[in-house]
């Protein structure tokens, strides 16, 4: 009896976790792929096997490609900008200066607030006629337009909010990366006569590059999961100019009740993000060797 208990004990300990994990993580992954091979919508309430028809539908839907393109633009807009600013700010904060805690708090706080709140703040700032951005933007040479209603600019308004919200978070991750660079490397560079510019490109930049790669992939994954600001600020519009992946899935599942098609799109997104995550995990391992 005691022996049985001893053997069973570890399994009993992991049981609660695996109970929920199976229901809400493993099962939905398998089931998403399964459902993606069925027709299942308002017109066909009983699931009907259709093979790859849902994937074929996505392949030939111009909107699917537009959504993918929008998401790539959104990622290409947010990720490099966020990372470059985050690294620059981390370098500044890493100096031994006064008021450090205050700067850090001011730069980091958007991470703490809900994206829904950030969306409200920026809706108000971007609003035409009475918004701050149009008034002060003129000084910076920005056009006086209805940002969120503009075909080309709306997505860049979302990019702006994305960068504003996330830059402090990535700054802090970079800061952790900077602080493990041994001081003697800078000493050595200084003795060799390297200026600040050379020290950055020859010492700092190569040594934080694993962080950059890892953080970059995490940021791309983030960009492909962006939904709150789309839902609250543009609803995918004007037209479909800011329709991103999750919003597209949301529309198909919960507006058109086409669960088969929504599952197929989810499966595609799942595979894209899984590939990126595996890449990130590999660099995380490499980073351990570095340190």
């Amino acid at each position: 009896m005691r022996r049985t208990l001893a053997v069973a004990r570890p399994y009993l300990y992991i049981l609660p976790t695996f109970f929920f994990l199976v229901i809400f993580t493993h099962w939905p992954i398998l089931r998403t792929f399964y459902v993606s091979f069925f027709k299942w919508n308002m017109a066909t309430p009983k699931m009907e096997f259709v093979g790859l028809a849902n994937y074929a539908q996505a392949w030939s839907a111009p909107l699917f490609w537009e959504v993918l393109w929008n998401n790539l633009v959104f990622a290409a807009g947010t990720v490099p900008l966020t990372l470059a600013l985050a690294l620059a700010l981390a370098l500044l904060i890493n100096q031994k200066i006064r008021g450090l805690a205050i700067y850090r708090a001011l730069l980091f706080y958007p991470t703490m607030i809900p994206m829904a709140a950030a969306a409200m703040i920026w809706l108000w700032i971007l609003t035409p006629n009475y918004g701050l951005l149009n008034y002060y933007g003129k000084w910076l040479g920005l056009p006086d337009v209805h940002w969120l209603g503009h075909n080309k600019l709306a997505i860049w308004a979302l990019v702006l909010v994305g960068v504003w919200k996330r830059v402090g978070y990535y700054m802090v991750i970079y800061l952790a990366g900077l602080q493990v660079i041994p001081e003697y490397l800078y000493e050595a560079a200084r003795i060799e006569g390297a200026g600040p510019w050379q020290r950055f490109w020859r010492v700092t930049f190569p040594l934080v590059s694993p962080t950059t790669f890892f953080v970059g992939i995490m940021a791309v994954i983030d960009a492909f999961q962006a939904i709150d600001q789309v839902y609250l600020m543009t609803r995918g519009g004007p037209g479909n100019a800011t329709n991103l992946f999750i919003f597209y899935i949301y529309q198909n599942a919960f507006r058109f009740f086409d669960f088969g098609y929504a599952s197929a799109v989810s499966a595609v997104l799942f595979l894209i993000l899984l590939t990126l995550t595996l890449l990130a995990f590999r660099t995380l391992h490499r980073k351990v060797h570095y340190a």
Partner: protein
């Protein structure tokens, strides 16, 4: 090469500029929240409220069941954390300090949760939640997060660091695994728990999309949803002062907590980034 004082001045100048870009939007909504309703419709921005008023905050309390939203948010964030603490402690302890068949396989199955994007399983989880009759409940909002790979991973690292000798000495004194866990392992892991708790509560206080899908009425809606729903009503979308007052009411407490415990929050978030 620039001289030290000059360099320092440049660093400060750049940081002040960056900080301003981050803070001005916040200052602007705070000031807006205290203005009278029609004051904001001016072509030239007026920074200070002409007649500072609390009416917007009172208006929010009249326009929606704000305290119900607040209560729901507290129940979701802290109730979820309470369950998570149990599930992650047990699992982390088993993975860190017990030998059992299939351990590595189970661990990989656990890490799957860290590796997949939660948004890609939203549709299926909605169907599950509906089938078991949890739609429009607070439990539905918590359900997908009751097990946490991140929390388990974080604690496992800490538990692994406890020396074997300590456990053996405790066992000699007749201290069983469960008592060792309660009296030695958990107290030693308090910093890990704190980090996990801060990240979990912040994340679920802020979450929007999943609660949006599984809730339908005020009885289960959280603050962010209340804000989102209000913003999309006709009266809400036109009433900037009230909208900004509500935004402020949603973020006030977490923001104050952040300012007070800044370092702890930042360190916790750093771990969450590196942990997955």
């Amino acid at each position: 090469m620039p001289s030290r004082p000059l360099w320092r001045l440049v660093v400060h100048a750049l940081l002040v500029m960056a900080s301003l870009v981050m803070v001005v939007p916040f200052v602007w909504i705070v000031l807006t929240a205290f203005k009278e309703r029609n004051e904001v419709f001016s072509q030239i921005p007026q920074w200070l409220p002409a007649h500072p008023t609390f009416n917007n905050f009172l208006g929010v309390l009249d326009a929606m069941p704000f305290w119900q939203y607040y209560w729901n948010t507290l129940v979701v964030a802290f109730g979820l954390l309470a369950v998570q603490l149990v599930t992650i402690t047990l699992a982390a302890y088993a993975f860190a300090r017990m030998e059992f068949r299939g351990r590595d396989l189970f661990f990989i199955l656990l890490l799957v949760q860290l590796m997949i994007a939660p948004q890609s399983t939203v549709v299926q989880n909605y169907i599950t939640v509906t089938r078991v009759g949890l739609l429009d409940t607070k439990l539905a909002i918590m359900a997908p997060y009751l097990a946490s790979a991140f929390g388990t991973f974080l604690l496992r690292q800490t538990f692994k660091g406890i020396p074997k000798e300590l456990e053996e000495a405790a066992a000699l004194d007749g201290c069983g695994a469960l008592r060792f866990l309660l009296h030695v392992a958990i107290p030693l892991a308090l910093p890990g728990y704190l980090a996990f708790g801060l990240v979990s509560i912040t994340y679920h206080w802020n979450e929007f999309f999943w609660p949006l899908i599984v809730t339908e009425t005020a009885k289960s809606r959280t603050l962010t949803l209340g804000l989102g729903v209000f913003a999309q009503t006709a009266e809400g979308s036109a009433d900037w002062t009230m909208l900004m007052a509500m935004t402020l009411m949603v973020i006030a407490v977490p923001l104050i907590m952040f300012l007070v415990f800044q370092r702890r929050f930042i360190n916790s978030f750093m771990q969450s980034g590196l942990g997955g």
